[in-house]
């Protein structure tokens, strides 16, 4: 089969070639799906372009190459093309015209979408949020938040829930740590007082329980706040949009971290004493089981078994310096205690043993694995 090849004298530079992975092809085939190009950051050229479906995010990477690629379209020639008899080939059956050339392709790599919370205000429960007409609030809606994040809708909502994000009168905000703690405490107490089932907490019932006997004028525990508490400390019950199962471990850990901060910041505390203090911070009769191991990644042991609060955000972000500081604070670590402090810096995704061995020494003592400096 022979084809005449032509090219337009003026080439169209607006075409691009995009790698379509099997996952992307699935999205394309779904008539209800949508795909959107987005750029992270606030300026037009600030951040990298990503491609988002409703559930996933792909980073675009431009792969240049040294060949000439011509994109061509078949057309019907009005004129009879003079036969090129030089080559002794069959007469051309049709004509193609080059309309674009490219020297690169866009590769697509699936990545974790990142929610952009840079401009989202922290709300501590005060009654003056939001300001009238959302004045001075750069992000005025969840749609705005999604549009400004290099993130799919599903990933956005998941991260939003985990962060303690709340929408008050339509305006996105993040509840402060203190406000979250108060709201959680009040929710648990109210739920227990009304004998609500922690495995099936409905938003309406829970809100009613919290707001029983509260003066509505000064009440900061709006239905939006209660929803945030259920999202952050619970999991949606399958096939029921309005029902959450409380994640008891998450609640216990939240209280535990606050207890470490309160009772073990300035000096260390023996574990048995800490367990009592931790338990005392819960609402009375709260049914949560607690174990020191749940708080790994939040404490170190300066002497023997006693515990002292250590937030990750006080540690160096350079991996070598982080290990150095950790060994300065505690010369030998149980592997399970040190891993939560360093695994976020394992950017190459190495097996944890291999990663630890790059920066520390590992040895077995009985059933335990002990990590110390090289």
């Amino acid at each position: 089969m022979s084809l005449n090849l032509h090219e337009r004298l003026s080439i169209d530079r607006s075409f691009r070639l995009l790698h379509l992975t099997p996952e992307l092809l699935e999205v394309l085939k779904d008539p209800n799906s949508k795909l959107q190009f987005k750029a992270a950051g606030n300026d037009e050229d600030d951040g990298d372009v990503v491609l988002c479906s409703r559930e996933k995010t792909w980073l675009l990477r431009q792969k240049n190459h040294s060949n000439t690629t011509m994109l061509m379209h078949e057309f019907t020639s009005e004129q009879e093309t003079p036969l090129e008899t030089t080559f002794g080939l069959p007469s051309p059956m049709s004509d193609f015209a080059g309309f674009a050339r490219t020297t690169f392709e866009y590769e697509t790599k699936e990545v974790s979408g990142i929610l952009n919370v840079e401009s989202i205000p922290i709300h501590n429960g005060s009654s003056d949020f939001p300001p009238a007409d959302g004045r001075d609030l750069p992000v005025k809606s969840m749609d705005d938040l999604l549009a400004s994040s290099a993130c799919s809708e599903k990933e956005c909502l998941l991260q939003w829930g985990q962060l303690g994000g709340c929408v008050i009168k339509g305006y996105p905000c993040i509840l402060s740590s203190d406000f979250l703690t108060k709201a959680l405490h009040v929710t648990l107490m109210s739920a227990m007082a009304e004998s609500l089932n922690f495995s099936r907490l409905r938003l309406g019932e829970t809100f009613d329980a919290v707001n029983k006997d509260i003066d509505q004028e000064s009440n900061p525990y709006t239905i939006d706040v209660i929803k945030t508490i259920l999202e952050k400390y619970g999991e949606k019950v399958k096939d029921d949009d309005d029902c959450w199962q409380l994640n008891q471990k998450k609640v216990a850990v939240w209280y535990g971290i606050r207890a470490l901060k309160k009772y073990a910041s300035q000096s260390s505390i023996p574990p048995a004493e800490f367990l009592i203090k931790w338990k005392s911070t819960f609402p009375p009769y709260a049914p949560f089981d607690i174990e020191i191991e749940m708080l790994r990644g939040w404490f170190f042991r300066p002497t023997g078994s006693s515990l002292q609060y250590l937030p990750k955000n006080t540690l160096p972000s350079d991996i070598k310096e982080r290990f150095m500081m950790l060994f300065k604070l505690q010369s030998q670590w149980d592997m399970d205690d040190i891993v939560p402090f360093v695994e976020e810096l394992n950017s190459k995704g190495l097996k944890i043993d291999v990663f630890l061995m790059k920066y520390a020494r590992k040895r077995r003592v009985g059933k335990k694995v002990i990590i110390s400096s090289r």
């Binding site: 691009r16 959107q36 190009f37 987005k38 549009a147």
Partner: protein, 127 residues
């Protein structure tokens, strides 16, 4: 933060019927041709039988492509002096053809390539 939806209007029938490219050109009539080198073509109109105008577009005829579908071999005659040997190659990853229309602010996926015609050997003279 800028964002724009990708329209797949042109692809819809194709995707739903599960038709896709199995030879030189796609069901929508597009072809991808790749040469290991620079292809030099005139950019100015000339009064020569190789120049034509179709639908107000000025074109220059520059080559003849011959495909043997049974063996996926291809021969490309470039101008009057060069001959290249190549083949129809299946792409490792299908490529979406996307147009970024700045004037209308529209992004449209127009086609999907599963194959390309590739010429990576040194051009031979035409005897």
């Amino acid at each position: 933060m800028p964002s724009i939806n990708v329209s797949k209007r042109q692809l819809q029938t194709l995707l739903q019927s599960d038709q896709h490219q199995t030879s030189v050109s796609t069901p929508l009539g597009n072809m991808m041709l790749e040469i290991q080198g620079d292809l030099e073509l005139p950019r100015q109109w000339s009064e020569d039988q190789r120049f034509t105008t179709i639908d107000k577009e000025q074109l220059v005829r520059w080559g003849l492509l011959h495909i043997d579908p049974s063996r996926n071999n291809a021969i490309l005659f470039v101008g009057r002096k060069q001959r290249l040997l190549g083949s129809l190659v299946k792409l490792d990853t299908p490529l979406g053809l996307i147009k970024f229309n700045q004037q209308d602010g529209i992004v449209e996926m127009q086609d999907i390539f599963y194959y390309k015609v590739l010429f990576k050997s040194r051009p031979l003279p035409i005897m």
